[in-house]
Symmetry: C2
Subunit: 395 residues, 2 copies
């Protein structure tokens, strides 16, 4: 078996686990840095190794458009192409088709849309998306799903959820066909005799259902009845709904999904959301916020967020976060990083991105330690209280 999940400790719904993949283990809870276009923006793969990242993301929609999933396959797959030797998960492009692309037409077969880059007409079906994710060759691949806005009506949410489940069945069938017909390592670069341990990709279904508890439960039940999945995605949250609604849905899904398998909350995120979701049984997270915010000059700190461009940091000798051990905080002052931002220097983008990603990775590790220590409640209460008490230096 190429994939497995061991639970080493628990605290209420929260779990400390180890998700094993053909490219190594992921200790959970874990934040997964997002490498949309086969690079975590502004960072080097060596930076990610140094800060202890384990699994990272790529995106099927973006990589299909640039450089093309066929190109990535020809170059030996995503691991080889971007030189990331750890686990990779690819998002299916469902979210991007419904948010970035233009002029969509959805029917039972799939989605016709125009590329956000050049307006070219494209067609995604569950089968085509599996072929793209096969070409990319990630360890974990997400199903193609029908994504809707966070506050959609129950009718729209039910329709999209049920279609996503029908599409899931087609994804599974197509993946089995591909695993039989297109060995994963059968690239110009490396050939295996017959099947290899790497041939199998873990397909994660995505539980949809908007903010409607009974739809979430129904989705989880249908998905579980279909197959023994290696893990579960939780989609359609953090897309505009109230925070309380998201937390309520997580509690519903925690009950509806098997305790024995990893759960991945897609597109989340921010430190406070990570902690609340971990407390509700989520194991894996991803979000573009740490790198996007970093490029805009915003840094996470244990005392809240900080905007490095502010004048008060002009001669501040302190690191971004005095309690952080990332390679930016270990070396540079706020004054220097502010200077880099004010002067539009590229190193500034890298240092803040690095710090923010490191911050979320560390948060996952600290939460795991708290679960193992049996003090998750007090740890998370203290952490959130400090984070929410903005000091005069933060914004």
């Amino acid at each position: 078996m190429s994939f497995s999940f061991q639970i080493e400790g628990a605290a209420g719904a929260a779990r400390a686990g180890v998700f094993s993949t053909p490219h190594g283990n992921v200790e959970t809870p874990a934040f997964m840095p997002v490498g949309t276009l086969a690079t975590v923006k502004a960072l080097d793969p060596d930076d990610l190794v140094q800060m202890g990242a384990s699994m990272i993301l790529g995106n099927a929609y973006h990589l299909h458009l640039r450089p093309g999933d066929e190109v990535v396959r020809e170059m030996g797959g995503l691991h080889q192409f971007m030189r990331w030797n750890g686990p990779i998960l690819t998002d299916s492009g469902g979210f991007q088709v419904f948010s970035l692309a233009q002029l969509r037409t959805v029917d039972e077969q799939g989605v016709e849309f125009q590329s956000h880059l050049d307006g070219s007409r494209r067609f995604f079906t569950p089968e085509i998306v599996m072929q793209i994710e096969r070409n990319l060759g990630a360890d974990v691949i997400m199903q193609f799903d029908h994504v809707i806005p966070g506050q959609s009506s129950e009718f729209a949410a039910r329709d999209a959820s049920e279609r996503s489940i029908r599409w899931l069945a087609r994804c599974l069938t197509e993946l089995r066909r591909l695993e039989a017909s297109q060995p994963l390592e059968d690239t110009p670069r490396e050939r295996f005799q017959g099947d290899s341990p790497r041939n199998h990709q873990a397909l994660f279904p995505i539980v949809q259902g908007g903010i409607h508890a009974h739809l979430r439960r129904a989705a989880a039940d249908s998905i579980r009845a279909m197959y023994d999945w290696p893990g579960f995605g939780i989609g359609g949250l953090s897309v505009g709904e109230e925070k309380d609604a998201m937390f309520e849905m997580l509690e519903v899904v925690d009950e509806a999904l098997p305790k024995t398998h990893p759960r991945y909350l897609m597109g989340v995120g921010f430190p406070e959301d990570l902690i609340e979701a971990i407390r509700r049984g989520v194991d894996l997270f991803d979000c573009v916020a740490p790198t996007r915010m970093g490029r805009n000059g915003a840094a996470f700190t244990r005392d809240g967020r900080l905007n490095i461009k502010r004048t008060e940091f002009r001669t501040d000798p302190k690191p971004l976060d005095p309690d952080c051990d990332c390679s930016a905080c270990a070396r540079f002052s706020r004054a220097y990083i502010r200077h880099l931002f004010v002067s539009d220097e590229i190193l500034g983008l890298r240092l803040l991105s690095l710090h923010n990603v490191h911050f979320l990775l560390s948060l996952g590790r600290a939460a795991r330690q708290a679960i193992m220590n049996g003090d998750l409640d007090s740890w998370s209460r203290d952490w959130l209280a400090r984070y929410r008490t903005a000091s005069p230096l933060t914004v």
Copy 2:
């Protein structure tokens, strides 16, 4: 003595030397990466350490405007501010005042100009520039000089050269005053009792004289008569004149300067120029070309220059330069780096900048080895022949 220069080998006019500074030794010939605004653009100081950079540059004009040399001093000086623990040289801003700034008025006292950033009125004199370079605290500081276009008339060249020499005397007087009154380490961060080995900065004069051999000789003679300088800058070359004129001037200056001291050819440059200048007795070089070209997608290779954005590299599995051992070439394909550039990803800027700087550092080391081996002639002939024979993959 804080500064010294030992010559360990020679081949014709070329020398293999060791320039000792309070922050370590520089094996020459050496290319010095340019960190205009206290950062070598797109690179991390750790990248520079890894590729074996020894001395790097900062720029007095730029750092005076942003973040302000007083801020750098308050933060502990340039070494501490940018976390570069090796030797640093600061350019005086002469070149920038005469190229970037607007509405200049030059008289014997100094230059009045408008900042290229905000149009604010500024006044640089030899004394003010020494105060700026004192605040920055580099190991080697360049005199403030009057820079003129490369093909100026003999009258203009003589006038500027003679003014630069009068300004040099004022720089020396001011530096002595500052060394007595403003101890270098006397910052809020670190205090020394009395004088420290770091208190002394090496002031380099700049030999001017345009493309007029007798003016270059006269300048060298006057400068040598003034003081026992720790090294010499050669300015006003590679600024629009013919290549042959530059090489002729280098031969004139080689004869006119003491063989015992390091010579720094300011603003040069490109691989072929480095080799020709090393053969004419130059020890130190700097140029923004490797990082600027890198940000534009151009890479040095041993087979000439290459533009990574070209379609032919779309699925090219080779590194930028198969004979290069930089951390970009050791890991990434041309196909991947092309993808980063086509997708406007920041990592692409870093990888090409890193490769190009590494390329010039390696070139200096290879030339040094050839001098030590006694085969500089054949090495440079072969190197230049290969570099100039552009393959179909290069531009």
